[in-house]
């Protein structure tokens, strides 16, 4: 399937983790998710909309997220995404894997 095209430019597979991390603090709608990631990374990471929504839906299928229609801060109808128990576990798994990876890369970079 069209998996590759939705992977963000930086590290492959990290988009799910970033979204899960962002939602760990509470439900957000799609636009807010991308805003939040951009802000937290001090504008270094920008999620393309073309990647964000397919990714969100894949996570819904996997059961990591649930979605609900609600009213946004500026009184518009918006779809809010929320972390499930499965999603929280997935976040822990992914972040610990990610930590190990980064540490390993750092070790290599320093020794070389």
């Amino acid at each position: 399937m069209a998996q590759e095209s939705t992977i963000p430019e930086f590290l492959p597979g990290t988009l799910y983790m970033l979204v899960l991390r962002t939602l760990a603090r509470g439900p957000l709608h799609g636009y807010a998710i991308s805003r939040r990631i951009k802000e937290s990374s001090e504008d270094a990471l920008e999620i393309e909309e073309g990647s964000l929504y397919p990714a969100l839906n894949r996570m819904l299928v996997k059961g990591w997220l649930t979605a609900e229609w609600g009213i946004s801060e500026n009184h518009r109808k918006a779809r809010f995404y929320q972390l499930t128990e499965d999603g929280r576990r997935q976040l822990e798994r992914e972040s610990s894997q990610f930590d190990r990876l980064i540490r390993a890369i750092q070790l290599v970079m320093r020794s070389a």
């Binding site: 399937m1 069209a2 709608h29 397919p54 839906n57 299928v61 059961g63 518009r76």
Partner: protein
Amino acid sequence: MKEILRRLAYLRRRNRFNRELDDEIEFHVQMRADELEKAGMPQTEAVRRARREFGSSVRMREQTRAAWQIHWLEDLLSDLRYALRALRRNPGFAAAAIFSLALGIGANTTIFSLTMEFLFSQPSCRDPQTLASMQIGGNSHAYMPHYRFLRDAHIFEGLAGSNEESESNWRFGNDTYRLQVMRVTENFFHVVGVPVAMGRPMEPGDGDVVVLSDRFWRARLAADPNVLGKALVIDGRPYTVSGVLPRNHRTVLGFGFAPELYLPASRESDIVALIARLPEGMSMRAAYARLVAACKQLDKVYPPDWGPGSSWANNVEVVPVAGMERLKSLNMIPFTAFFGMLMIVVGLVLLIACANVSSLLLARASARRQELAIRLAIGAGRGRIVRQLLAESLLLALLGTCAGLVLNLWLSGVMNRVQLPLPIPMQLLIQPDWRLLLYSMAVALVSALAAGLMPALKATREGVSTALKLTDRQVGGRWTLRNALVVGQLAVSVVLLTTGFLFVRNMTKVMSMSPGFDAEHTVWAYMRLVPEKYTTVEQNRSVISNALSELRAMPGVGAASIAGVVPLNDNWVNMLDIRTDLNDQPIRLRFHNNNVGPDYFRTMGIPILEGREFVLSDQKGSPEVAIINENMSRRLFGERNPVGHTFRYTAPTLSAPVTVVGVAKNSKYFTLGEENPLALYMAYFQADLSTANLHFLVRASRPQDVVKEIAQTMGRLDASAAIEVKPMRDAMGFAFLPSRIGAALLGSMGLLGLALASIGLYGVLAYAVSRRIREIGLRIALGADSRAIVGMVVRQSLSLVIIGVAIGLGIAVFATRPLAMFLVPELSPTDPATFLGVVGVLVAVAVAATLGPALRAVRVDPMTALRYE
């Protein structure tokens, strides 16, 4: 798993999903626009900019949807939808295919249901896998003291006993009815775990209680809701109704055996078949070892009485009550083989039906070749098109299966209701269940592949360019595959027809077979006494002699006698070592025996070839006499006249000599198919025979006329006796049953196969004619007469039929050989008359199938035909 459910949920509300996705995108864009506006951009500009930033929403939408889709399922659904449209456009084609499949699948699944019911139905009990039926000392039943000894040995979790061949008299109002009852030990319901629908099961210490079958409760007691606690007068004693069994009660014995009542086996003379509840985890092998050990103990307390060296531990059998193991036990093999054969036969019927559908699909595929070629040309993968064509045959198979299941339900209902002429009550409980469902699904899939795969592959094999260039009409030489199918169908139907023919001939042979006695002029009057009322031999004798003298005095009656068993309805068989006064060496013989009164042979019309028949003076106290049949005479005395000679039994102890006073002509004893059976008759009044079951035989020139009067006469002798009187011809139904069932089942399968194959033949010929209309028109225009045209069609038909029949006969000669085990010995499976009959029928049907297409060919109008495009 949950993921699949979520995906399926999506499948149901795809439209809503798409709407919501649009809303979400719109929201996103609006939010961005708001932000830009806040930063000072004019509104319209902000919205435009926001949209541009968002990028291609079409691609993103596609990818979002892809996250949810189950591709193969959606493809399958769209293929099925497409196939449905295609079938709707060709209702005739669809109907023919579905009809063929419905017949094939209906027959197939019905036989499957029947097989499941007979061979694999679960008895109504708790945990059948830890139940085992047992035999000791080679006897099917054990005496009560022996049963109690084994029960109290506590070698299993529980040991119960039952006797399924028990009868009782039920007094109801002024009438007495004989009932088939199941006598069971008091712990039977507890050990076996038989559920009851109403009341409670029989329990130890209950005394005289009775558990009713649902059928008895409904049919005889009008489903009385207050039946519990009421008393039934059975064999002169009141029994309290403790419970009623559920409607779907199946006995442990199986085979649809359905006793009317369960009574306690409380009499010391009762014998019971053993059934044990094994402790959790005990294997059949371990149970066997335990039982053997217990039998050796039993030998010490109750030594077996059939000679030195004998032991209850000999011929011990432990068999599970259900499942495959049971089928492997010896006496089940003929049943299993019969049902195995039926399954093969219906498999062949289904194969013929699938070939019909295949043939139709091939015809359609060649009509659709341009459409398919175009689709291939514009880039559809071959796999995709094959899948699509398969979806069409899958849809046909599914529809055919649904129709077939309707047929199955109807036929099962008929079989459940049918009352067979059996001496014991029988009730089939065929119900659709998950096994039938799974099996039908498998059958549907297999038929879809069998019918559809070959046409689909063939239709897509050709290159695009050739297919596009050829027009429908120009295609030549494409018959081979369909012709091969028809030849195959004809060959298989020859095999089926041969089988059916054999069984039908078997039945006619059996029906016309002389049983060796005169069934047309005899009446069987069965009088069952209440055993408790006749405690002495004298009482028993006096009712018999009273009855005989009354019967003999009746007008229209030529002779009357009594017998221990009525031939072809019940059977006593002995296996004994016998020594004659001519030969010191004993020989072991297996023979039928019967105790018959004076005049028996005259009454039954069995000729006495040498000596005399029994007379009144053959009484207790006079020297023991016997009459033997020709086979037995030859085995014991060779070619000598045995009258006046004696024989003795050598085991367990040497018996007193028995004098042969007569030789009777050979006749049939238990089955019409039996081969050269030996038979020995003893004098009724010389034996220590005091039984409640009296079988009177009456010779009458018009049996039907005396039946009622005999019943009244005997009823006057004892009102508590149950009396059933019927002409012997009617009582032979049981003997004819196996051959009738075989003929009905296999004969109809043969006809069904033939019908399907002839539809196939007709289809191919009709199609051939329609494809050659231009050619035929041209020939007629050039002066060919109708004989030549008909000849053309007939030639094609004949070549198919001849090849098919030749192949079929070749297979049938070998395939029907094992059937000999189901047929009477007089009928050989390779009997040429059978094959001749089959060929005759097939050719007749083929001619009928050829007629239509041939006529159509003759009526072709050359002018229309040449314009025909």
